[in-house]
Symmetry: C2
Subunit: 194 residues, 2 copies
DNA sequence: GTCTATACGCGGATAGAC
DNA sequence: GTCTATCCGCGTATAGAC
């Protein structure tokens, strides 16, 4: 399959009908569990109790569903960025850290797919809007300077958060413990005071 | 597909014939690029220039190939652990850190699949031998205590290293810069002296 | 160890009725 | 919006010759 040009990811969120929303929601969960490649339209259809044809009536291809899921997830990151920006320049970094931690915990299962799935990643990596959002995120975390060290710190921090929530070692920790530890330890990457 | 019980992953490394080694090597590369679900036996066969049937002669199912790949990768982690242990208790943590960094850089492209692929992850997470190796790894990194914080620190550090090497922000850094930054920031995270 | 040939089901995708 | 029915290709897997 060709998997859509990432350009579509960044488009304005089209009017989402309830039927489409159900599909995107179900698809997101299945992608998280089986990966994009391991999720069939039949599985998505079954999950919401309709036939494949009904799914196809909403989205012309699996590709479009992938894009819709990616777009929805990206929107959540933007929400965090906006909220952090609104909290003022002083607390922006800390707010960004806690916001990203919350987001990662919320979608715990999903996280690995979002950051690791080859299909999703390829779609994302060529998408301009996605890059802009990520750029905002990294700048918010490490500041304006684009030294190798600053970039690596941001890379490691986001990878650490995303990877830790679904890590086997963290499986038996409840969300609250997980959150507090992630925020606390995450500060070490940013060299923020405890 | 049923995907093998993880138990098989931990079995002693069977005598690996050259034919099997070629398959495992090709499969590992393809898994990294397309994910496990996105990789067909036809792709593996094509990659090494034989037919599907020839592949099936070596491994009775795709499942077995997945297990073999996982086992091979786990063995590399064990090698790092053994080397670190041999370096003496004083330098063990630092040696472990640099060893894991080297390993991650070596398989840069591969890393996301290893840590993120749902199929691989599920096979791993129920595998006893895998857990033992990971236990050794995180004990080596954060010490004997099994507090939530220690476990989270180990999870975050391994995720950070694995995730950072394939991170968009690190894409334009050469291996040497990447290595030194990872070790430096990793040490800071572990609160080891510079 | 590798091949050709083949079975069988599932995946994505479409047509047309309700 | 959803259905039934159908198409086609590819995926896994097996049999048997060389």
């Amino acid at each position: 399959m060709a998997y859509a040009s990432g350009a579509a990811i960044g488009q304005a969120v089209a009017s989402i009908t309830p039927a489409k929303a159900r599909i995107v929601s179900a698809a997101a969960g299945l992608f998280a569990e089986h990966g994009v490649g391991g999720t069939s339209l039949q599985m998505i259809a079954d999950a919401i109790g309709v036939t494949k044809a009904a799914v196809y009536h909403q989205y012309k291809s699996k590709d479009e569903i992938v894009v819709a899921v990616a777009r929805a997830e990206l929107a959540r990151v933007e929400t965090v960025l906006d909220a952090a920006a609104a909290s003022g320049p002083e607390q922006a970094r800390a707010a960004l850290l806690t916001g990203m931690v919350d987001l990662a915990i919320e979608r715990r299962r999903m996280e690995s797919t979002l950051t690791g799935d080859p299909v999703l990643n390829r779609a994302f990596s060529v998408d301009e809007h996605f890059r802009q959002v990520m750029d905002r995120l990294y700048r918010g975390l490490v500041g304006q300077d684009s030294t190798a060290e600053a970039r690596m710190a941001a890379a490691m921090l986001t990878a650490a958060i995303g990877g830790a929530v679904m890590h086997p070692l963290a499986q038996d920790l409840n969300d609250d413990v997980l959150r507090s530890q992630l925020v606390r330890l995450g500060r070490r990457f940013l060299e923020l005071p405890d």
